[in-house]
């Protein structure tokens, strides 16, 4: 069995030595299934940190179902994925509202009827990470991050967690669970930080890094994040007005 030695890890990757099964391998990300059934990832680019991830210089050519050992002894924590509640700067509302319009796109419009009830989006949409799951992840992240605990409807998310294993892919379900559990990917964390601040260039860079990720994922996540922010601020679902959300 191949042993892999990362140089940095996220704070929620607890055990120092563990055996995993390869789930999927991409040029810069190796997704692994742990014995606990959770998704773990080895990444070669520090921008890709997410819950249960570790940074490694490179990894060998590995096939799905192969076993690997990941050694994390004495490896420092490079990233903390825990969402820390902050107050969103309302200056950016015009910016985040337009992300809901991404749902007008052909490949995402299947989500439109469910904006008021994102739980219905579980597993909805094309791809191995259905866009509906990205929306839910963004939605949960916004509610978990913004400083308005009253808007967090635990019943809504309990219902999502109950259905997640049967309604969507394992990999995508892991993303939803993390978001509901208050864990966030680095790009999302950078976005939250930017939206709490006042720098335009930080905000545009942070949004750009998410917008361009995946085929549809980034846009669906941003749309969900926008809906979540609106919920957290007004407790109401954004209304469509003349073709645009407002």
């Amino acid at each position: 069995m191949i042993s892999l030695y990362p140089s940095g890890k996220s704070s929620d990757w607890k055990k120092d030595r563990k055996v995993f099964t390869v789930h999927s391998a991409y040029s810069s990300v190796l997704n692994l299934a742990g014995e606990d059934g959770r998704r773990y990832s080895l990444i070669t680019d520090g921008h890709d940190f997410q819950p249960r991830s570790a940074l490694i210089e490179a990894f060998p050519d590995l096939k799905a179902s192969e076993s690997v050992s990941v050694i994390l002894e004495d490896v420092g924590i490079s990233y903390d994925p825990t969402i820390v509640r902050e107050k969103v700067n309302p200056l950016w509302r015009g910016l985040w509202l337009e992300w809901l319009d991404f749902l007008e796109e052909d490949m995402l419009c299947c989500l439109l009827p469910f904006v008021a009830d994102p739980g219905q989006m579980l597993g909805l949409g094309p791809g191995s990470t259905p866009a509906g799951d990205d929306f839910i992840a963004g939605f949960a992240t916004a509610l978990g991050w913004s400083e308005s605990e009253a808007s967090w409807n635990s019943g809504e998310f309990t219902a999502i967690l109950e259905r997640v294993d049967s309604c969507t892919t394992w990999f995508s379900g892991e993303m939803v669970k993390d978001a509901v559990d208050g864990m966030i990917w680095l790009r999302g964390q950078q976005l939250c930080k930017a939206l709490a601040g006042g720098s335009s260039s930080e905000a545009l860079t942070a949004v750009g890094q998410i917008y361009g990720s995946g085929h549809l994922s980034g846009r669906a996540w941003l749309a969900g994040f926008s809906a979540g922010l609106e919920r957290s601020l007004s407790h109401s679902v954004p209304k469509r007005n003349g073709g645009q959300f407002s």
């Binding site: 200056l91 509302r93 910016l95 319009d101 990720s213």
Partner: protein, 513 residues
């Protein structure tokens, strides 16, 4: 074999359509490819290029793809076109680039101090967005055309109430504090402020001023209809007022085709009372005497020459007289050079509307009746712009050529194909062209023109005469474009008017012999 396929209700922007067509033409075995929104004008152009569109039932909201290739190749090329439309090969995966806001509110979130919105949308959506921008306290540059006259009046009235300016609709060029918007050339900032109802007119005057070492601070477009009585010059007058208030501006210039009489009066009154030097260039008007505080010019180069002399504190009349002498020399040379050429007629093939208008005027003075798709007089309008007769001037930037396809300043390929057709016509003696450089224009516009010239199959072919409107600072680099054209044997001149005088004189000289 040329075949077409219609895709109902599929809309793509004209840049995408142009780029996909270019990609398809790179495929071995594809002789031609064209992708257009199925407007009547585009169907007409496709029919002219022998694509079988006669029996096609399509609306302007449909996409039509035409490909010239073998039957064997057709399915795969068509499939390739569909793939390219969905996933453009020239678009790289952009993970880390900055996000560009998609809405006015989004843009204002990140740029709350903004005071101007540039709106470039299909005309039917543009007015609503312009209204929103005005309501948010923004001046508007309305690049879009096909905005109704009623909407234009409503927008400009609203802007006036709010102390704002609407540049447009159909405003392709503006300069704000030396920064170009839309089609614009790289020129220095200086003490001149320009109000222009004409895009390429503004470009030409700025380029000529640049050559005379004079810069422009603001170039405010108004849209061509602003000076009609229906609109009443609302934007022109607001723009002049804005320039009056700018202490860094010492000369105010107004450019355009002749306004309606009452608007003309308001504009000239405002210019004369500006307390600054003022120059009016209403092309097509008869020459008239200067008035206190206001110099009248009838040509774009003259406008620049007079303006530059005012900036320098020189005598504008002397500058004019030097210019007339130059023009006389150009005319004499044209008559001489035209002696040995075959053919009888002049064809002006233009990308800039005002440049076309000015050149047609010059040609009219030397040759009599000049036909066109946007002629000086309605009775000289060509029945078919693809089939010019006698002395004709075609503006390929007119709506008939730009609905659902790119403006010829952005994509010179269609004009280049027409150039080849016209130049191979044995009755054509001279082909006159403009090449407009600057931001927004094609990366290397002369390249396509030169390719077309080099492909012409005609003994004793016509004279090619061109004017390149641009500067060394432009992305396309003036000197580089000139070199390309010169190597292809094109006669080149320093202004649009000079090129037109030479071309018309070459034909006029032949007629007398």
């Amino acid at each position: 074999m040329k075949r077409v396929e219609v895709f109902r209700g599929e809309y793509y922007d004209s840049v995408t359509l142009m780029l996909v067509a270019k990609e398809l033409k790179k495929i071995e075995g594809v002789a031609d490819a064209t992708l257009n929104m199925a407007t009547q004008a585009n169907l007409h152009i496709m029919a002219y290029a022998s694509f079988p569109v006669d029996s096609i039932a399509a609306s302007p909201d449909d996409l039509i793809i035409g490909i010239d290739c073998s039957d064997d190749l057709w399915p795969s090329v068509l499939e390739k076109a569909k793939t390219y439309l969905v996933s453009p090969p020239w678009k790289s995966r952009e993970v880390s680039t900055e996000y560009n806001p998609k809405s006015l509110e989004g843009a204002l979130s990140v740029l709350p101090e903004a005071n101007l919105a540039l709106i470039s949308l299909p005309g039917r959506y543009a007015a609503a967005q312009a209204s929103r921008a005005l309501e948010r306290g923004l001046n508007v540059m309305l690049y879009s055309d096909n905005v109704s006259l009623e909407e234009e009046i409503r927008l400009k009235t609203l802007a006036k109430e709010k102390g704002l300016l609407v540049m447009g609709p159909d405003c392709g060029t503006a300069v704000i504090s030396g920064k170009g918007l839309g089609f614009s050339n790289v020129c220095p900032i200086g003490p001149v402020g320009i109000v222009s109802a004409s895009g390429t007119g503004l470009q030409e005057v700025m380029v000529q001023l640049n050559r005379l070492g004079v810069g422009v601070k603001h170039g405010l477009g108004t849209g061509g209809r602003d000076v009609k009585s229906s609109v009443g010059g609302i934007s022109s007058l607001a723009a002049i007022d804005a320039l009056k208030d700018d202490s860094e501006i010492s000369v105010i210039v107004a450019i355009g085709k002749p306004p309606s009489p009452e608007v003309r009066q308001k504009i000239t009154d405002s210019l004369k009372s500006s307390g600054k030097h003022a120059v009016a260039c209403f092309m097509g008007e008869s020459a008239r005497s200067d008035e206190p505080g206001l110099r009248y010019t009838t040509g774009l180069e003259e406008c620049a020459v007079v303006t530059a002399s005012l900036v320098r504190g020189e005598d504008p009349q002397l500058a004019r007289e030097r210019l007339w002498n130059d023009y006389r020399e150009v005319e004499t040379r044209g008559r001489r050079e035209g002696a040995g050429i075959s053919g009888r007629f002049l064809r002006g093939l233009f990308s800039g509307g005002t440049l076309c208008y000015e050149a047609a005027q010059v040609a009219g003075e030397l040759l009599g009746e000049v036909y066109g798709n946007a002629p000086l007089r309605e009775e000289l309008k060509l029945p078919d712009s693809l089939d010019p007769i006698e002395n004709s001037f075609i503006d390929y930037g007119e709506d008939e050529f730009t609905q659902g396809r790119l403006h010829p300043m952005i994509d010179p390929s269609f004009r280049a194909s027409q150039l080849k057709i016209q130049a191979e016509d044995p009755s054509v003696a001279v082909v006159l062209l403009d090449i407009v450089l600057g931001y927004g224009s094609a990366a290397n516009p002369s390249e396509e023109i030169v390719k077309a010239i080099n492909s012409i199959d005609r003994k004793n072919g016509p004279l090619f005469v061109a004017y390149v409107c641009g500067t060394e600072g432009d992305p396309q680099v003036y000197g580089r474009q000139i070199d390309l054209l010169r190597k292809a044997g094109v006669y080149l001149f320093e202004s649009n008017r000079r090129a037109a005088i030479f071309a018309a004189a070459a034909v006029a000289g032949k007629e007398k012999r």
